[in-house]
């Protein structure tokens, strides 16, 4: 019995030592930093494009964290230190810049808000949502896609906006939540980005919004202060505006950055 306990204690000590050693390895000098991949916190809508962009960036495929831009900003405010923060608007990176948490943001692409419906849906226009019975899913007000959606609806005027908002059945924490509800056939329509419909590969259909309603969805990225790989992070951000990153973004349904 005592021998068994000693064995367990020995194994535990070994495990503890091993984890200490592993933790120690993670904190070696700058020579090793160059080989560590970047950590990138990016808006959920960038998942597919950044995945492809990451295959060829310096330093190896980055470690990505995709979520609502607002959640990622809150994490940075709470002390998270990714190397790069890329949001689906310019407001959040600018706010973090004013707070001294990130370097000057770079606006690197744009996206179009669209009304997405399942490929076989009968819904053909925004006005179809004003009739009761259509289940609509939107982003929560704090996530960029949710605030763009509200902008569009308010431009329709309060009466039409309220009719459409009455059909909202769920406010998802990020745009991929909206996409998932549509793809699963749980909802009839949702406001997402054009790039999300491209990424859904034929399962969804995008109904373009009239030009006068369309919000300016510009994406900005910034190097986070306090990281140790600023040069690498700056090249990651720089590559998004032109060259390979820009080509990948265009192919994924994103637009060129505003002039």
């Amino acid at each position: 019995m005592r021998r068994a306990r000693a064995l367990v204690a020995g194994l535990c000590t070994l495990a503890a030592l091993a984890s200490l050693a592993a933790a120690g390895c993670g904190r070696q000098g700058p020579a090793q930093d160059a080989e560590e991949p970047l950590t990138v916190s990016a808006a959920a809508s960038l998942a597919e494009a950044f995945g492809r962009y990451g295959e060829g960036v310096e330093g190896g495929r980055p470690r990505y964290s995709f979520a609502g831009s607002d959640e990622l900003a809150a994490q940075i405010r709470q002390g998270a230190r990714p190397d790069v923060y890329a949001a689906a608007n310019t407001k959040l990176p600018e706010a973090l810049h004013r707070e001294g948490l990130v370097e000057r943001p770079v606006t690197f692409t744009t996206n179009a808000l669209v009304l997405a419906v399942p490929a076989d849906s009968a819904i053909d226009a925004l006005s179809d949502l004003e009739r009761p019975g259509a289940d609509l899913v939107v982003g929560s007000p704090s996530v960029p896609v949710g605030s763009y959606t509200r902008e569009v609806l308010w431009r329709l005027g309060p009466q039409r906006a309220e009719l459409i908002l009455a059909g909202v059945r769920s406010r998802e924490p990020d745009v991929k939540g909206v996409v998932a509800k549509l793809v699963a056939g749980a909802a009839d329509a949702g406001f997402v980005y054009r790039s999300d419909v491209v990424a859904a590969g034929g399962r969804l259909r995008a109904l373009a919004l009239p030009g006068r309603l369309r919000p300016q969805a510009a994406y900005a990225a910034a190097v986070v202060r306090g990281g140790e790989r600023h040069a690498l992070a700056r090249r990651f951000v720089g590559g998004l505006r032109s060259g390979r990153g820009a080509r990948i973004l265009r192919a994924a349904g994103f637009g060129p950055p505003p002039r």
Binding site: A9, C12, S140, R171, E172, A186
Partner: protein, 267 residues
């Protein structure tokens, strides 16, 4: 004997480490913000809606869990049949499923395009985007906690009492209600508290299966996630309330469990 001393040091250090690691985050919820501010941020109507929805939905789920789970656990505890252990494993499976998997599984089974989606629609039952869907998700993830505890509690009841009750002419139903349930009560209650705690904390399955809409499907954990992005203090306040409720539940498990333990040990 010389091996004993370092071992004693190791277990003490391990315990101290475990204690710090497990309590620090909970302490931090309360330490970060002054209590006045915590209470003030609870004035947010969305937070209150979420709390009240959480209480209503978890209580409804508990009712379903008890009404169906108690007899089911009784059957598992008293019947021996082919494939019994397979049934027990299947019933306990949701215990180890990641909540996101549970949500997708529920959508695939009961969603509009799920296996039973057509039948449910014909019957006029809507679950996705409805409070009923939240309750279904809570039952799915929490029921196994109650059923496995209840099964253990029923199994621990002395068989001679059952036989005595049946010999005296009581029906099995009567024996279940007047002998089994009272004798197994501490175990049943602790299973109930565990299931309640799990249901209160449910996040992923609810979000994926039922969605998130204030007052309809947005339970307290979903509201905490949303508030985190906009108002950290409000998120902390709501978290503090959940911590208090969960701690009360755990404490009640301990108190009830303290009563059941000697009986179990005596067996």
């Amino acid at each position: 004997m010389s091996a004993v001393r370092p071992f004693r040091a190791i277990v003490t250090v391990a315990l101290a480490f475990a204690l710090c690691f497990l309590t620090l985050p909970v302490v931090a919820i309360f330490a970060g913000t002054p209590p006045g501010e915590l209470v003030a941020s609870l004035g947010d109507p969305a937070a209150l809606d979420a709390l009240s929805l959480s209480l209503q939905a978890t209580l409804a789920a508990l009712a379903v869990i008890v009404v169906v789970g108690a007899p089911a656990a009784y059957a598992l505890a008293t019947r021996s049949f082919r494939g019994r252990s397979a049934v027990i494993t299947l019933v306990e499976l949701p215990l180890v499923l990641p909540p996101a998997v549970a949500g997708i599984a529920l959508l695939a089974a009961l969603g509009p395009q799920g296996l039973l989606g057509g039948w449910l629609e014909d019957a006029g039952v809507r679950l996705v985007f409805e409070t009923a869907g939240v309750i279904v998700a809570l039952v799915f993830v929490a029921a196994p906690f109650f059923i496995s505890q209840a099964q253990a509690a029923f199994s621990a009841v002395d068989r001679t009492w059952l036989d005595a009750s049946r010999t005296l002419g009581a029906t099995e139903a009567r024996t279940f209600l007047s002998v089994m349930v009272p004798s197994a009560l501490p175990g049943l209650l602790s299973g109930l508290a565990l299931a309640w705690g799990r249901a209160l904390g449910e996040f992923g399955a609810t979000l994926i299966f039922a969605g998130s809409l204030s007052g309809v499907t947005q339970t307290a954990p979903l509201a905490i996630y949303e508030l985190f992005a906009t108002d950290l203090n409000a998120a902390l306040a709501l978290s503090a309330v959940l911590v208090a409720i969960s701690a009360a539940l755990l404490l009640s498990v301990k108190l009830v469990g303290g009563r059941v333990a000697p009986g179990l040990l005596a067996r």
